[in-house]
């Protein structure tokens, strides 16, 4: 089938086993999410709305809240850095590593570090940067890209992983998930101990105390700040919330929305270097706040997307994501959130991603599951509008022109004729129409019998009988 939209082409060519893995994985997470929310809360929607308001309020007052978080962190002995761009952030990390004569870094899962392509940058500069989240570790061994925000290897099966491990010298071929996990455990333990620097992201930062909340199920982020002396937290500016107590709302929603857990196994709260009596953990703590287009987004008609807490629920529910997988979105953030965010984070390269907002049926499911109530369909429409306004060609690839329709609608005589012609459609196969979009549509569906013109006839008869 010929198709002009890149995402459609990707979905068309997706190997069936990947489509199956993505579908099964998404569906399972979606079901668990629903169960865990409805079993816990009388009115889960009210809590989503509350969380949305908390985040929206913080964004609208970001200078005060971010300023307060920074003040607290500095007061507790952390060093705060400011990165306008991804390149700035990479350079700051390298400088910190050099300042402590470090060449080895171990990192926990961080979408922001993916966004700035940190691993590649450090490797180019002679440093080792190892992913410690099991999924991300496998992605790194394969030189692949994560295909989901929460479950990065949802597109891989155990056989592929076993092959990867064998190639990487982590034992003979064995595709038992438990064996795979144990092998990663023992390999990465040494890496934690060897690394001089541990890098983490941050899920939330409390303006009240500077506390960074960080969640993981595997315990890798705990290791990243226990076995070395320098900790770097790389955090987008939008992660701030006003008070510690607000974390209770967001933590209650994050795990349920992401994996259907009541709470993620490990929730860590870090607000400075280790305490004096503690033998393990970082003596130096660096916090890098990253802008990377976020302040532009904040000043735009898309600011609500900055509420996102990266739970992945909108991916799991999205019919387009389920059919096409995360890689179809060609960027770090896939699914509905990615369709809104990726074109914006691309900065000057916006036109390259301007087609993504079309990768949606606008069914509204993403908004319904979003724990911070982001109006994703509305933002996708605003994007389509923006692309149209700016005349971005890629955004209209595959869209039939509306020019003919507009002439038709505004010329009564033509309209009447076409209604008559419409009847002919009952007898002509759509496959004969040489427009790829029509043929693609008709492959799976058939048109109902044409019923146009009835109103005009009824109206005419009524006038006559008056």
């Amino acid at each position: 089938m010929k198709t002009k939209q890149p995402i459609d082409a990707f979905a068309r060519d997706l190997p069936p086993e990947i489509r199956e893995s993505v579908y099964v994985g998404s569906k399972a997470k979606y079901d668990k999410r629903l169960d865990s929310l409805t079993q816990s809360f009388a009115a889960p929607d009210d809590i989503r709305k509350l969380a949305g308001q908390i985040k929206q309020h913080t964004l609208e007052n970001l200078p005060e809240y971010l300023g307060s978080a920074i003040e607290k962190l500095e007061g507790n002995g952390a060093k705060v850095h400011y990165a306008k761009t991804g390149d700035d952030a990479n350079q700051i990390i390298l400088d910190i590593m050099r300042s402590v004569n470090a060449t080895k870094l171990i990192k926990s899962k961080s979408m922001v570090s993916e966004e700035i392509h940190l691993n590649k940058f450090l490797e180019k500069n002679g440093c080792e940067s190892i992913e410690s989240d099991l999924g991300e570790f496998i992605v790194q061994l394969d030189d692949d890209m994560p295909s989901h925000i929460v479950t990065p290897i949802v597109h891989k099966n155990r056989k592929q992983i076993a092959n990867t491990f064998e190639k990487a010298g982590l034992g003979d071929y064995n595709d038992d998930p438990q064996t795979i996990t144990r092998r990663a455990r023992s390999f990465l333990r040494n890496k934690y101990i060897e690394a001089e620097v541990g890098l983490t992201g941050g899920n939330f930062v409390s303006a009240e105390t500077g506390r960074i909340a960080l969640v993981t199920n595997e315990g890798n982020a705990r290791f990243c700040i226990s076995a070395n002396k320098t900790h770097i937290a790389l955090i987008g500016i939008e992660k701030v919330v006003p008070r510690d107590k607000d974390l209770a709302v967001l933590l209650n929603l994050l795990a349920r929305s992401a994996t259907g857990q009541q709470l993620t196994v490990y929730t860590q709260f870090i607000n400075g270097p280790k305490s004096e009596a503690q033998p393990d953990g970082p003596e130096n703590m660096h916090v890098i706040f990253l802008d990377n287009e976020r302040s532009n987004i904040l000043g735009s008609e898309f600011k609500e997307i900055l509420r996102c807490i990266r739970c992945g629920a909108c991916l799991n529910v999205c019919p387009i994501y389920r059919q096409s997988s995360g890689h179809a979105y060609r960027a770090v953030y896939p699914g509905p959130v990615g369709a809104v965010l990726s074109p914006l984070l691309a900065g000057k390269r916006y036109p390259e991603y301007a087609d993504l907002p079309k990768a949606s049926s606008l069914c509204g499911a993403c908004n319904e599951v979003c724990p911070v109530d982001i109006p994703l369909p509305e933002l996708l429409l605003r994007h389509r509008n923006k692309a149209k306004r700016e005349g971005i060609k890629k955004a209209s690839a595959g869209t039939p022109s509306m020019a003919g329709w507009s002439v038709l609608c505004s010329t009564p005589a033509m309209w009447k004729t076409s209604l008559r012609a419409g009847k002919a459609m009952d007898y002509i196969s759509l496959n004969l129409i040489p427009v790829p979009a029509v043929q693609a549509w008709a492959k799976e569906r058939s048109l109902p019998p044409f019923r146009g013109g009835k109103f005009r006839k009824w109206f005419k008869d009524r006038q006559k009988n008056k």
């Binding site: 399972a28 816990s40 009210d46 809590i47 509350l50 908390i54 929206q56 309020h57 609208e60 007052n61 970001l62 200078p63 971010l66 705060v80 400011y82 306008k84 410690s132 099991l134 999924g135 479950t151 155990r158 998930p177 438990q178 996990t181 144990r182 990663a184 101990i193 105390t209 506390r211 199920n217 595997e218 315990g219 890798n220 705990r222 290791f223 226990s226 500016i237 006003p242 107590k245 974390l247 709302v249 933590l251 709470l263 993620t264 196994v265 490990y266 929730t267 860590q268 709260f269 607000n271 280790k274 305490s275 009596a277 503690q278 033998p279 393990d280 953990g281 302040s295 000043g299 600011k303």
Partner: protein
């Protein structure tokens, strides 16, 4: 980049929002986020029972008193482990009598020699089945993390918070706090649950009477 340069575009962006369109900070309390898992009885024993139920659901194990803990360790056939120095007086003699080798300091180049780690819990949360570890009361971050079995000892004087909300409101000013809700786990490979990824594969909470 300096702070004011960094803040300038953020301030400019926020200044575009008219006052009338600003979202107020919502006012909310425990009732707003009430879950069906919140315990209704706040007596300490009732809270412990509520904690046990939730902890069990996340595959944690609870023990009460020394004999109970010892039999669990025996079941796991442990031979050597780490015990936090502040628990040494209480625990070391009887563990050693049972033939278990005890270390009260941790050599991080040998982390795999410690099959278990026993450290203090700063408290637990009944609603979620969560153990709270704090830097100031957990003797060694690695001692609570790297061994296959972690035992968090909950002394009499440590709080059992009814809800997550209560615990969040009492974090204090410790630089590092961990909420541990069950053993370390992953479902990265085909969605299959595997416990014991980087952290403990067995997470125990042991309620003990303090001697002093």
């Amino acid at each position: 980049m300096n702070k004011s340069e960094f803040f300038k575009p953020i301030e400019d962006a926020v200044n575009l929002i008219p006052d009338s369109k600003r979202t107020p900070l919502p006012d909310w309390d425990l009732e707003t986020i009430r879950t069906t898992q919140m315990p209704s009885d706040t007596d300490r024993d009732a809270l412990w029972d509520a904690f046990k139920t939730r902890f069990d659901l996340v595959h944690g194990k609870c023990t009460e008193g020394r004999a109970d803990l010892l039999s669990l360790l025996k079941e796991e056939s442990v031979t050597a482990g780490y015990v936090a120095p502040e628990l040494k007086a209480d625990l070391k003699p009887w563990l050693q009598q049972s033939g278990i080798e005890i270390h009260t300091s941790l050599d991080d180049s040998q982390i795999d020699t410690y099959e278990f780690g026993i450290t203090r819990a700063a408290g637990v949360i009944a609603e979620t089945g969560t153990i709270i570890l704090k830097d100031q009361s957990t003797s060694s971050r690695l001692g609570a993390l790297s061994p296959w079995i972690h035992i968090a000892v909950l002394p009499d004087d440590a709080p059992i918070y009814p809800t997550l909300f209560d615990a969040m409101n009492d974090l204090g000013n410790d630089p590092y706090i961990v909420f541990a809700t069950g053993p370390s786990k992953t479902a990265d490979v085909e969605g299959i649950l595997i416990e014991g990824v980087h952290g403990p594969g067995i997470q125990i909470c042991s309620r003990m009477k303090s001697r002093h």
